[in-house]
Amino acid sequence: MNIQKLYHFFAVIIITVTFTACEKDWLSAKRNLNAVVPVKLEDMRAILNNTTQPVMADDYAGMVSCSGAEANVTDDIFDYGAESERKIYTWNKTIYEAAPRPISEWDDSYQQVFNANVVLEGLQNIGREAANAVEWDDVKGGALFFRAKAFYNLLYVFSSPYEEVTAASTPGIPLRLGSDPNVPTTRATQAAGYEQLLNDLRAAIPLLRVQPLLKVDASRPAAYALLARCYLSMRDYPQAGLYADSALQLYPTLMDYRTMDAGTDRTYPFPERNEETILYSRLAPLSIFDANSFSFVVPELYALYELGDLRRLLFYRSTGGFRGNYTGSSLQFSGLTTDELFLIKAECQARQGQQTHALETLDYLLEKRYDPVFFQLHTIGNTPDVLELILQERRKELAFRGRRWEDLRRLNFDPGRAVTLHRIIQGQSYELPPNNSRYTFPIPDYIIQMTGIAQNER
């Protein structure tokens, strides 16, 4: 080989290698194809799209589902349960196992909060321009909405039932409003918690799209519906009624059970993300106590479904297992729906003395739930206690959606509506008196150890 040519050859190699490697951005190349530092609006949307760890739309409040005593398990099934699950099932004073493991109700809810905060902080560095304004607003509204929903679930599980007079002095939950992990965790008051989430939701309303991209996304009707649910839990009935109505004005669709196939071959008659669903959420379950092939509806609840009530067949198997989940599967549904909104609206109307309107609202729902042969419109005349009727229909309609526990928490304050829950398992009987401190779950021990925040009395 010609020596001169050889030199040229090496010179080219040296120069090429040196120059490619000296390029300024050479070391800024992305390391992993699937990983990014989220900075773009699309990234923020994608963070809200999480359907795993955490599922943004889901409700991490599994503890409440078996606590409401809508179903029982048999003695043999009971032994399958983990120790903490058995303790929750029997309303034990302490519920966490000696061997601690992550408590989803806390950790996963705060993961939702973290995601929302990352989005809210990220948006501050993304310009809102005419071209992206709709999406920018919707993403911000979504982040506010999902943070509020997580706070709501946390207050539901870890703070005592809302009482207006004591809320300002009752411990609520830590309100993390930023992603900085160095900010110490403190427990805000119950009043501050509710105020935060109500403000977030109200701020989200004008930002959100009326029509969500998917039913796992936030939307304006969903924000109204969640406000209605929150105010109901706070027993602020006028506000709850107004927001329920606002949601229904935007999205009033109900499914007509009269046209639904209740055939026994259909294991789960309702499809997921169906027409009644405004936000598709699932209640992260506690293993077997919620799996409907192992638990059976309590006779007292089942007996409420009268002859001609289509829900009796659509919701329950002949064995007594629940199959009416709006998830199309064994997973429990806890999302926001129009039927719940009609029931909130009716209840609030009744509580504000609009008995006739209340019955009209209720019947609009019920005529889609009964065989026409058996259905009769309600009137003041044939209804001795309008509110009682609505609450009973509420219990039947919203069975196994995680709402019962909250209804118990608030209705125990109503004169004459306080109930003591009973349960017998393996020959042992358990009870939970109304307004008991065990209506509030303890904060995970490891959180108490690490942060020093106050534990709930139980």
Binding site: I14, L27, T51, D76, D79, P181, T267, S330
Partner: protein, 1022 residues
């Protein structure tokens, strides 16, 4: 050659065939031309000598750092050098296993099966990459290490301390293994070398696993049945859960009690392992053929090799075949310029069958075939009667016949790897050279996993989705095979420019070596996976399948989508480094060395100013024996070494910003999963190593040895600390940890007898290492300390404890069994207690008993070699000492899960008095989780891991030179090698081999490597 051609058909690699043909043709041509003169110069004596053991000439060797080769007498750092003879003492398909038992400081951990985990001088990182860096021919090797053919390796150096390794910068933290391949030499006649061997080993011993006896498990099932445990399962007509054959018999109302007892007694005598061993396993046969051709003239040297490995693995359908082709050339164009080129190709094919994985949950008394060998179904996923009725209900057969699976599935992985390199070195001045090196490495793997329509996986999936309605049967998962294709690729570029100066002055009293260089490196990897439904191999067509909609599942009634089984991934790692390294030797007795290196990487998310990591080292060596005052004539070699410096490491998963990982959701949208909490302070890990060394040799090297003492300080180690989950993450990952370590390595070589034709040599090494984590911020609850992170390697199982080794064995103190009930007992506040909940919840670490390390603190080897004329025999005894392990614990609750039990169940406490001869508690129902957890984590199940084993024996016979004188052979050796010969002594009395601590309860079923015998022949032709 026939072998190669037969294999070639399978690979369809015409390229390789051509390469073999032309490569050999060209090299033979080249070889004949210039070498006629050189040939005569080579004496026969030399070539026979090259076959013999040269390990004792320690001081003549040069060690390679990957940047330079250093004569050992001028090395200030701590190196281990394994020469060709020692390396080739063992027989193996891969390179790494040959280092086992002969390499000081190098620990092999094979407990988890698969590729051994290596560590040099213990552990230096917590969550970072813990693997030593493997360098092949001066560049880090990125391909699969099993690509390397041991017959192609010239020698191996291990870099242990900072002076040796810090030239590798941020990748040096775990030590470096530098592998150098063979090259031809200038002015050497053409030689053809041939090596062939066959290894055979027994079937693995499945009965090594302490599984529960069939009859005992039937007893458990009977008990549970009597307690209505199966009531709801038996009544379940929604999901038809699995009911074991024994429970089916027990629950069968049509059978009389006597009939039931008879049938159960038959089951109780069966053990599925007999069938698995009989139908799935076989003896291993490994064949290895290696052919090489080397030589050189005045200006050109060459090395060509072709190697073939054919392995018949222990599972009947598993094979591994490999071809290596190598061409290395050196051209000295003229005095000042020399160019080295290398091209290596590896092609391998792996076939494996996964049927056994689905048998892990099989009931122990099931049979795979009847008495005449007809395949039998075993219960899986659904109740037997449901599966058997599926065909009558319009679905595909839903039974699982394990014996029919291998023929209905095929899982083949092909791998192609090549490495091409060019190195040019030019003498600018007499003592100053400039060199440029470039290496390109490429590896492609391609996996075809075909699950035929008759395979259980495919039938099951089709059946679950099949919708039978009045309008006909619909198959959302189409009929036909399912083909999973997975591909991976890896490409690395390495470029290096380096200036070397090697000069002396003042009448050779001062010697100076300097090198400075610049290096760039890029490693890009990619992967994708795709699945084809309804695949028809004869036409190469698949059926488009709806992956977007949900379908009702049969029989559960739930809804699900058809899995897309698709993925795309890729990584890109870039490094830019600058380095200098130098040593100055005065009067051949004082050597001072130093090295510094700056690494920059594209570590993701790290701020620009933290991408650069500077590391340095320095060292001194003093050859005391060269001093005038040195008078010890019986110890003619005595030198002292000292070095200090920093090696680096990094945890690729840590990031300064919140990093999001993108995936696709079930709704067809993109989701960004957020990673760790933001950590703007993130930086690289550093380990300071302080090494003191002593080298000595007696007259004529009768006794020689080395002793190294070292102290390590790991700084800024990436650690996890449990974190307030309210922040959104329950752990925080950052530079939160420090580690301290120390240890020593001793080597002693002796020539015990040397008289006439007989000699006896001994080689001993002993390495001791200790490490402890210091300043670990958060201690967490006791229960985090029971899993062995050293075994699984899972980050969540690694929970360091302040002041303790990274991997320790902890337990609850054990107070024996309650003589009345057989309950396990522990201590609470010094009192014997059965309050399990309270004992488990005491968070203080002092409630735990610390036994010791989970990984050996000492490892060693004592090798004796006898030589008598042409015969040589050597045996190697190795040991691992100073560690503990936890035995598999049988569940002490009644549960229906067979994998929860071990053979311990038979020894459980059953009546008062049993506590005198057993430590295994009574088994209870209903389940008591705390009681069981306490027992499983108690001291009753902890054993010492110390053991000594006879690693291997090698015997060889070299045909004497006179015999070969008139043949074309210059050397011929016949050898035999036996390995895995068993344990000579062990501290535990449960007959457990701690290197293979099979724990079926934890799903780890690594069986001891069976005894292996290899026979081979090595020859070289002139």
């Amino acid at each position: 050659m026939k072998q190669i051609l037969r294999l070639g058909e399978g690979y369809a690699l015409t390229l390789i065939k051509r390469y073999v043909f032309y490569g050999l043709l060209i090299s033979i041509g080249l070889a004949w031309l210039p070498d006629n003169n050189a040939r005569a110069q080579q004496s026969k004596k030399d070539s026979t000598k090259s076959m013999q053991d040269t390990v004792f000439q320690l001081d003549e060797v040069e060690v390679s750092t990957g940047y330079q080769t250093i004569p050992k007498e001028r090395a200030t750092g701590s190196f281990v050098h394994i020469d060709s003879a020692l390396f080739n003492r063992a027989v193996s398909t891969d390179v790494i296993r040959r280092l086992k038992g002969i390499t000081p400081s190098l620990l092999f951990d094979e407990r988890a099966g698969g590729t051994p985990k290596l560590s040099i001088r213990g552990i230096s990182t917590i969550y970072g990459n813990a693997k030593p860096l493997i360098v092949v021919d001066n560049f880090p090797y990125e391909g699969d290490l099993s690509n390397l053919n041991p017959n192609d390796i010239a020698d191996v150096s291990i870099l242990r301390d900072a002076a040796a390794a810090s030239i590798w910068g941020i990748r040096a933290g775990n030590g470096v293994i530098v592998i150098t391949t063979k090259r031809g030499k200038l002015n050497q006649p053409i030689t053809v070398g041939f090596n062939s061997n066959v290894s055979v080993s027994e079937k693995p011993d499945l009965f090594y696993e302490p599984k529960i006896a069939s009859a005992d498990f039937i007893g458990i099932e009977q008990y549970l049945y009597d307690h209505d445990f199966y009531k709801s399962k038996l009544a379940n007509t929604t999901t038809f859960p699995v009911i074991s054959p024994a429970v089916e018999i027990i629950a069968d109302a049509r059978l009389s009690d006597t009939e039931k007892q008879q049938q159960l007694a038959v089951l109780g005598m069966q053990d599925i392992r007999k069938d698995i061993s009989r139908y799935f396993y076989r003896g291993v046969v490994r064949q290895q053929y290696a052919l090489n051709l080397q030589g050189g003239g005045a200006r050109h040297s060459y090395y060509y090799a072709a190697d073939v490995d054919r392995n018949q693995q222990s599972l009947r359908s598993d094979t591994y075949n490999r071809i290596n082709l190598t061409a290395r050339n050196q051209f000295n164009f003229f005095q000042k310029l020399s160019v080295q080129t290398a091209l290596e190709l590896t092609s391998s094919q792996t076939k494996s069958d996964n049927t056994l994985i689905s048998l892990q949950n099989a009931f122990p008394y099931q049979r795979l075939a009847d008495d005449v060998g007809n395949p039998l179904p075993i219960v899986r996923d659904f109740r037997g009667s449901f599966a058997a009725a599926a065909e009558d209900n319009g679905r595909l057969n839903w039974q699982f016949f394990p014996l029919e699976e291998p023929e209905n599935r095929s899982n083949q992985t092909g791998l192609q790897h090549y490495r091409a390199s060019l190195n040019a070195r030019y003498a600018l001045l007499k003592d100053l050279h400039v060199s440029v090196s470039y290496q390109y490495e490429h590896q492609a793997t391609f996996q075809n996993y075909l699950m035929g329509q008759q395979s259980y996986f495919t039938r099951d999936l089709i059946n679950r989705f099949t919708a039978i309605g009045s309008t006909g049967t619909k198959y959302p998962v189409p009929l036909g095979d399912i083909l999973d294709r997975t591909a991976g690729s890896l490409a690395s570029h390495n470029g290096r420019g380096q200036l070397d100066y090697a000069g002396d002055w003042d009448d050779n009293r001062s010697q100076l070596n300097l090198l400075a260089g610049f290096e760039v490196r890029q490693v890009r990897s990619g992967s994708y996976a795709n699945r084809y439904y309804g695949y028809d191999g004869s036409t190469g067509t698949a059926i488009p399948t709806d992956l977007a909609d949900t379908y009702t599942q049969y029989p559960s009634g739930g809804s699900a989508k058809i899995s897309a089984a698709q993925s795309i991934g890729g990584t890109l790692n870039r490094f830019r480094s600058y380095y200098v390294n130098g040593s100055y030797t005065y009067l051949s007795r004082y050597t001072l060395s130093g090295s510094a290196r700056m690494d920059q990487t594209n570590l993701f998310g790290v701020k620009t100013n933290q991408r650069s990591i500077p590391l340095w080292s320095t060292g001194i060596k003093w050859d005391m024996n060269k001093e005038s005052f040195y008078k010890l004539s019986w110890l003619p070699t005595l030198s002292l070494r000292w070095s200090y410096g920093y090696n680096g490491n990094f945890d690729e998963t840590a990031a300064a910003y919140v990093v999001a990982q993108y995936v696709t959701t079930q709704y067809g949208t993109r989701e960004a999963r957020l990673g760790n909490l933001p950590n703007p302070e993130l930086k690289g890990e550093r380990t300071a190593v302080n090494n003191l060394g002593l080298d000595f040799a007696s007259r004529n090297q009768r006794v020689s040895g080395r002793f190294d003492l070292y102290f390590k300080r790991g700084k800024d180690l990436i650690g996890n600390t449990p974190y307030d989950a309210t922040t959104g993450r329950n752990t925080f990952r950052g530079n939160v940890a420090r580690m301290k370590g120390h240890g020593w390595d001793a080597e002693l070589n002796s020539l015990n007898v040397h008289s006439g034709r007989f000699s006896w040599r001994s080689n001993l090494f002993w390495s001791y290492t200790a490490d402890k984590v210091v300043d670990y911020r958060a201690a967490t609850n006791a229960n985090y300390y029971f899993s062995d992170g050293s075994l699984s390697g899972y980050a969540f199982e690694i929970n360091p404890l302040n002041g303790r080794p990274l991997f320790g064995v902890y337990s609850y103190p054990w107070a024996g069994l309650d003589p009345q009930t057989g309950d396990p007992q522990g201590y609470l506040h010094g009192q014997v207690s059965k309050d399990y909940a309270l004992m488990l919840s005491v968070p203080a670490m002092d409630s735990l008993q610390y036994h010791g390390r989970a990984t050996p603190s000492s490892l060693g080897s004592f090798r004796n070699s006898l030589q008598w004329g042409s015969w040589s025999l050597s045996a190697n005894v190795t040991w691992k000492l100073g560690y503990y392990f936890r035995r598999a614990a049988s569940n002490i609750n009644y549960t229906g899960d067979v994998n929860q039990y071990t053979s311990d169940y038979a020894q459980r406490w059953q009546q008062p008095g049993d506590e005198l001869h057993t430590q295994i508690p009574s088994v209870v129902y209903p389940q008591n989780a705390n009681r069981s957890t306490f027992y499983q984590q108690s001291a009753a199940l902890v054993d010492k891991g110390d053991h000594v084993r006879l690693q291997d024996i090698q015997l060889s016979y070299d045909l004497p030179a006179p015999v070969l004188a008139h043949s074309p052979l210059s050397a011929l050796q016949i050898y035999a090698y036996a390995s895995n010969l068993g344990i000579l002594w062990r501290a535990n009395n449960h007959h457990i081999d701690p290197d293979y601590n099979s724990n079926p309860v934890l799903g780890n079923t690594t069986l001891p490597a069976p005894k292996t015998l290899a026979l081979g022949i090595k020859a070289s032709f002139r």
